[in-house]
């Protein structure tokens, strides 16, 4: 096995024993952080033509052997030694991935973009060689203070690329590039901690690259002979993130991340994103047309207005579409004037109001809260130009969730930003006030007759409503709710059997779940319709369907043993039939039935009853309580 696919710089001794801090902060942002950084880079790298940028995001699986240098990577992973609890845990976790063979992978590929240039020059250090900066430049994300600067830069590839490492279980990412003259190269990086391997100390970052010992620089490999997933045939960049954390393989979250951050870019047709989940065989194209369908789809978005309190994307999209021409909003700071397009809509049904502030390239920065006007019924989108972008960027916090003057270090700029924010707030407050005044009726008396008030509710009364807990071994007094006395409604009518009501038990029908196969009807049999006898070596269960009206034509059914736990909750997958029984047979014909842990298949029904014999494994005592769920094909009903 050759050992030179990944290059770690040699060092004299280990100084730093922790993982790069920005890995954690990007990890916390989840898949959204990764999607955001990559699409932003792609839009910034758009070619100068009329076409839109196309992005293809693919979730899939690959084999370990498809990953170049992976054995070498794990040798380095195995040699790491943690010095504190957190690092130890993280290292063990990374090491535990070594044996995995079916590996989650996410690829993000862009088209109609410039790609990276100057691959042949390798680690040149020249700023025009964007390949070199993207692949090898370190220092941007080593310290948190730089991270802030890094995130706010924008404009070229090389930004926030550690977000790709952060969503990989082993902090590994590759990329494949095709440049303007058709040259194809691959690169990649892994973030470990400083470590000792075969008596040599290494730095924490490894690069998927070749080292030229003459000029001591790293050069990328040509994209030849790698697995299909590394193919990048048209100009642009493809990011490949193997060992994608399981929690980030959520198709829905990726769709949401794209819509939440880039709805403006999508509506302006700057970008179109296709998301493919090969593991689920799902595919979705997000463009100007489909965006509207997605935000109206309950599966992706809460779109009942009174409930929209957290994710405002559906509202922003509606606002942008309904307000054709925006108002101009001019906001002054101490020494500059900034001009924005404001799309503003008053809507009585909205419980909270937000201003979506968006960069001119179409990426949302924040859901801005107007001070003291957080719960006003409006929605708005604010978009500036390049000058405004730059100024807003300087005020963003590292996770882009807030703009604030606190994020600026220089005291003059800080004052300037404060002034700007104050003016923005006042202007927005004015606009909101005006819209409310315009829209509310201000004459006549208030009709309060519908407001009922109850004054005598007391604390202890409220307490009696709260749930009681079972306490057995205690000297303290137990609080018990007194049963309410019920008066008989009519005199002279005597309950035939006081205390004991005999009620005919009716089978409980279950709504077909979405995952449940269509064409089946499911119901829970009442206990009175089931008899169960337990003998030494077997059990006999008789199911009586006579109480069920539709049952006359039934010929066979599936029977699920639903476990009822100590709290009365039902669990469909918790029985252990295979542990308890060797065989399950029809009592009359002695035919054996197939069964899994909780379900017996195709049980025959004769004369509205089924009797089955369950042959026990020796010495098994079943201590579970069951309900029996009957599933019948609807043709039989």
């Amino acid at each position: 096995m050759k050992n030179n696919d990944f290059q770690f710089a040699k060092i004299e001794y280990i100084e730093n024993t922790t993982f790069d801090g920005s890995l954690d902060s990007f990890y916390e942002k989840g898949i959204e952080g990764t999607i955001r950084e990559n699409i932003q880079n792609s839009i910034d790298a758009k070619l100068d033509n009329e076409e839109k940028v196309k992005i293809e995001i693919v979730l899939g699986k690959i084999g370990k052997s498809d990953l170049p240098g992976i054995d070498e990577v794990f040798k380095h992973i195995d040699s790491m030694e943690g010095k504190n609890e957190y690092t130890v845990e993280k290292i063990q976790y990374m090491q535990s991935k070594k044996e995995e063979n079916s590996i989650n992978v996410l690829t993000i590929e862009d088209l109609n973009t410039k790609g990276l240039s100057g691959a042949k020059n390798g680690q040149s250090g020249r700023s025009e060689d964007t390949f070199g900066s993207y692949a090898y430049r370190k220092g941007f994300h080593n310290r948190n203070e730089n991270e802030e600067a890094e995130i706010s830069r924008g404009g070229s590839h090389g930004i926030g690329k550690i977000s790709n490492n952060a969503v990989s279980d082993i902090n590994l990412m590759y990329f494949a590039n095709c440049d303007g003259i058709g040259e194809k190269h691959v690169g990649g990086s892994i973030h470990l901690i400083e470590h000792r391997y075969e008596d040599q100390y290494y730095r924490s970052t490894g690069y998927f690259s070749r080292k030229n010992y003459e000029d001591n620089r790293l050069y990328p490999f040509e994209n030849l002979g790698y697995s299909k997933i590394f193919n990048k045939d048209n100009r642009g960049l493809k990011i490949i993130i193997p060992y994608l954390r399981e929690e980030f393989t959520d198709f829905k979250k990726i769709v949401q991340a794209v819509c939440d951050n880039f709805f403006v870019a999508i509506l302006n047709e700057k970008v179109e994103v296709e998301i493919i989940d090969k593991t689920q065989n799902t595919d979705m194209v997000i463009n100007k047309e489909s965006l509207v369908e997605i935000i109206n789809d309950k599966k992706y978005y809460e779109n009942n207005k009174p409930n929209i309190k957290k994710v405002f994307t559906p509202l922003y999209v509606q606002t942008l579409q309904e307000i054709g021409t925006p108002e101009k909003l001019i906001v002054e700071s101490l020494n500059e004037t900034y001009e924005f397009d404001l799309y503003f809509k008053y809507d009585e049904e909205l419980p909270v109001g937000r201003v979506g502030i968006v960069r001119s390239m179409g990426m949302k920065i924040v859901d801005y809260k107007v001070e003291r006007y957080i719960r006003r019924p409006y929605n708005a989108v604010l978009i500036g130009g390049p000058k405004e972008d730059g100024f807003l960027k300087s005020m963003e916090n590292e996770s882009h969730t807030q703009i604030s003057s606190d994020n600026i270090k220089d005291s003059n700029s800080k004052k300037n930003a404060k002034k700007f924010l104050r003016n923005l707030t006042t202007q927005m407050q004015k606009i909101i006030d005006e819209s409310i005044n315009r829209n509310s009726v201000s004459s006549g008396e208030l009709d309060t007759s519908h407001i009922l008030s109850e004054l005598d509710s007391t604390f202890s009364k409220n307490l009696s409503r709260s749930s009681e807990k079972v306490q057995i071994d205690s000297k303290t007094e137990l609080l018990k709710k007194k049963p309410k006395e019920r008066r008989k409604s009519r005199k002279g009518v005597v309950d035939p059997q006081p205390g004991k009501k005999k009620q005919k038990r009716i089978p409980r029908k279950l709504k077909p779940g979405t995952e449940e196969q269509q064409g089946y009807e499911a119901l829970i049999l009442p206990n009175s319709s089931v008899e169960r006898i337990s003998l030494n070596d077997k059990e006999i269960i008789k199911f009586d369907f006579n109480n069920i009206e539709e049952s006359k034509n039934w010929k066979e059914c599936d029977i699920t043993f639903v476990v009822v736990d100590g709290m009365g909750q039902e669990h469909q997958n918790e029985a252990r039939l295979t542990d308890n029984y060797m065989l399950i047979k029809d009592a009359a014909s002695n035919d054996t039935y197939t069964f899994n842990d909780y379900k017996i298949n195709n049980v025959k029904i004769k004369n509205n009853t089924s009797i089955i014999n369950l042959i026990k494994h020796s010495s098994i005592k079943d201590t579970l309580k069951y309900l029996y769920k009957i599933e019948v094909r609807i043709n039989d009903l």
């Binding site: 719960r375 306490q471 100590g566 709290m567 579970l624």
Partner: protein, 247 residues
């Protein structure tokens, strides 16, 4: 000291957070009721252990349980098991302590997440109150003993969470027995481990949680909450053996 109680619907008040943040809490506001609870002393205690280093979180938890055990648990259960009481205490009397200790509560989201968090098994005060109550109910022989069990609760917090989630297991004797068993049999680390070879169970199932769940499934055919320690140990071993092989 009198603690003025919040009025029904305080969770939905539009002003409570703003007023708290700006130090404008006013007992005349509609989010207060006219009722109070009187307590001799209301010392500070940590109310949030969701962030920070493991050792720090543990110290905070132990400190909180001890303070609640000593100063709050003698109140009637309808007071110390009611979230409104604790929320009222924090809002009316603990602002300075809380703002200094948890500066993030100046954000509205964190305010609701830390100060006015729903009073259920995910709330740290709730956990600490129940822990303190069990410790008090168990009538242990010394404060050293008490401290030992508070430590054990924290070290097995995942299992503790599951115990308080199921009402049938909420009794001091069961808890103490189970903690003893975990200690005697060295189950603590096994119980915390994720179950990896059973994809049918969901991604975050742990051995300890499954053991508690198995005991729950068998109830009341097997009355594990009321068993003596040795009998309970057998049930625990049996439940664990369904999922865990020694080798």
């Amino acid at each position: 000291m009198n603690i003025r109680l919040l009025a029904d619907g305080y969770m939905k008040s539009n002003h409570l957070f703003e007023d708290f943040k700006n130090n404008n809490i006013n007992l005349e506001e509609p989010y207060f009721s006219d009722e109070y609870v009187s307590l001799a002393k209301v010392p500070d205690f940590p109310i949030y252990m969701g962030k920070g280093k493991e050792r720090y979180k543990k110290e905070e938890f132990i400190k909180a349980v001890k303070v609640i055990r000593t100063h709050y648990i003698e109140t009637p259960r309808d007071i110390h098991l009611n979230g409104k009481f604790w929320h009222s205490l924090l809002i009316t009397s603990k602002r300075d302590y809380l703002i200094e200790k948890y500066p993030q509560i100046e954000s509205e989201k964190e305010f609701y997440n830390i100060i006015l968090k729903k009073f259920d098994w995910e709330n740290y005060i709730y956990k600490c109150v129940l822990a303190a109550e069990y410790i008090a109910d168990a009538e242990l022989s010394s404060t050293n003993e008490e401290e030992k069990y508070i430590n054990l609760i924290y070290d097995n917090l995942d299992v503790f969470n599951y115990i308080i989630k199921y009402e049938i297991f909420r009794n001091a004797k069961f808890l103490i027995n189970l903690l003893d068993i975990i200690e005697e049999e060295n189950y603590s680390s096994i119980f915390k481990k994720r179950i990896r070879d059973r994809s049918d169970l969901g991604s975050d199932e742990r051995y300890g949680r499954r053991v508690i769940f198995e005991l729950n499934k068998n109830y009341p055919v097997i009355l594990s909450p009321f068993m003596e320690k040795d009998d309970l140990k057998e049930q625990v071993k049996l439940a664990l053996s369904l999922y865990y092989n020694e080798e």
